[in-house]
């Protein structure tokens, strides 16, 4: 449903960040986009959601299509209305608003205002904790709770595609598991297509159907998750495993496998 074809993104008219990025996100699936720091993952999401503009970035080549309609270069509000919602990196909840107000803001572009009450209940159903905290100022929530709020806020917009930027960032491992299992449920029960960007490849691949691996502004590898998990390079560089299982620190230092895709 969402296609990126040969997309180039430049910041400030000089810094080329995406260098011919192509990917396809099929309807109803969870797609994981993996890669190291500075690979261009967040930029890819922002190119899709139209948030590049406020950072002086623009798509200079290639195109982004949603159901065959070009959406690159459109304003963020228009793209949200078309059904793409990005949960930004670092949660970015509205700190001085209550939990419930945060959720209501998420539904800002919705035309069917009378369904909002019911959808609030739905979010509380997925995240019972938010219901308990609904009158609390969002700034005082813990990191995990804020991440739940950020995802719940995304659900309130009823998007067709939810873009999640590093939902595991700075959150306790146990909570990360919980949050990812909820993401999987949202995908299965609501039919929301999800594109999740992660550094934590293990957890992302545990729920995704399809994976893309990004380096230096382009995709270097992609495939169904089962195939990626079997790939030696992925195991070595993204999952921290080798043929012998988990490596110890000394071996990592003395031996470095060459990346085959470069």
């Amino acid at each position: 449903m969402l296609t990126l074809n040969n997309v180039e993104v430049m910041y400030n008219r000089v810094i080329l960040v995406l260098k011919g990025m192509s990917m396809v996100i099929p309807e109803g699936k969870i797609v994981a986009l993996l890669g190291s720091n500075g690979a261009g993952k967040t930029t890819t999401l922002k190119a899709i959601s139209g948030l590049l503009k406020s950072e002086d970035g623009e798509v200079t080549d290639g195109y982004i299509e949603l159901y065959g309609e070009r959406i690159e270069g459109k304003d963020a509000e228009e793209i949200v209305k078309k059904g793409i919602f990005q949960c930004m990196e670092g949660r970015r909840v509205f700190e001085h608003l209550t939990v419930e107000e945060n959720l209501i803001v998420g539904a800002h572009t919705r035309k069917d205002r009378h369904n909002i009450k019911a959808d609030l209940q739905k979010v509380y159903h997925y995240f019972p904790k938010l219901h308990m905290l609904r009158h609390r100022q969002a700034g005082y929530l813990s990191g995990g709770e804020q991440q739940m709020l950020a995802i719940g806020r995304g659900m309130m917009a009823k998007p067709k595609i939810l873009l999640l930027d590093e939902p595991s960032l700075g959150i306790a491992p146990l909570l990360v598991k919980e949050i990812f299992s909820i993401i999987k449920r949202i995908n299965e029960e609501e039919g929301t297509t999800i594109l999740v960007v992660e550094q934590n490849a293990n957890i992302a691949l545990s729920i995704a159907h399809y994976g893309y691996i990004m380096e230096n502004g382009r995709i270097v590898m992609d495939g169904p998750v089962e195939r990626l998990l079997e790939n030696e390079d992925v195991k070595e560089f993204y999952l921290g495993m080798s043929e012998k299982g988990r490596k110890n620190y000394r071996e990592v230092k003395s031996y470095k496998r060459r990346k085959r895709w470069l």
Binding site: S54, K81, M88, R92, F94, E95, H96, L97, H108
Partner: protein
Amino acid sequence: MAFFLQMLVTGIVVGSVYALVALGFVLIYKSSDAINFAQGEFLLIGTYVCLTLVASYNVPFIAALLLALAFSALLGWSVEKVVLRPFIGKPVISMIMATIGLSSVLAGIVHIIWGHETRVYPPVFSEKPLQFGEVIIAPVYAWSFVIVMIWLVIFTLFFKYSRFGIAMRATADDQQAALSMGISVKTIFAIAWAIAAIVSAVGGVLLGNINGVNSSLSLIGLKVLPVAILGGLDSIPGAIIGGILIGIIESMTGGYLDPLVGGGLKEVIPFVILVIILMVKPYGLFGKKEIERV
């Protein structure tokens, strides 16, 4: 005692008008981090439009007030679109300079259209003073207080429950995140300016009814700036409490100290208080504290 109460009541009424106008500063500061130095001119234009409708065209006061407010909303909206839109994303200081320029231009226009002699509203409220125990209140004061309170309640409800009110607070919190919610930040700015112009116009009409209208009324804009800073520039409750506080202090100074020094102290006191408060509490009385999770 009666004199004290009299001063207190006057202070509260004038202060509540300050509070309303200060709300305009707060809104614009919250949405765009800029300070609008043209606030006083908004106030002046609002009150002149209302006065012209009442005095020259014999429009009933309430209708004239509403028309003046509609005109002000339009004025604020278009000023944002034409003058300030190009400054989005530019340093805040250039936006502030633009509002200073704007204030001169608007002041000039007012001067051309309405001249500079003091004009008075035809008596709108009854002249018969209301008596509460020892305190005597002119109806215009009582009505002003009621009207301000109505507006404050309207705005409180607007920010607490309406879609755009909540969106405005969200934008004030985190502009980029608001953008990612599909909130049009441009629309939010325009609404903030429209509301700022409306509250100024209400304040202007009320003060005009109390004191008469001439171009020096725009100085209220400057006088209200300490009110907004006192309350903490980004706090709506702060603006309201700060307004009433400054109103009372001003009225008390006028009543008790001015006769001793031969007048004029009343005009200075708000600024003296401002400096003292800022030395002790740099964010103002109710300024937003950054929430930091540790």
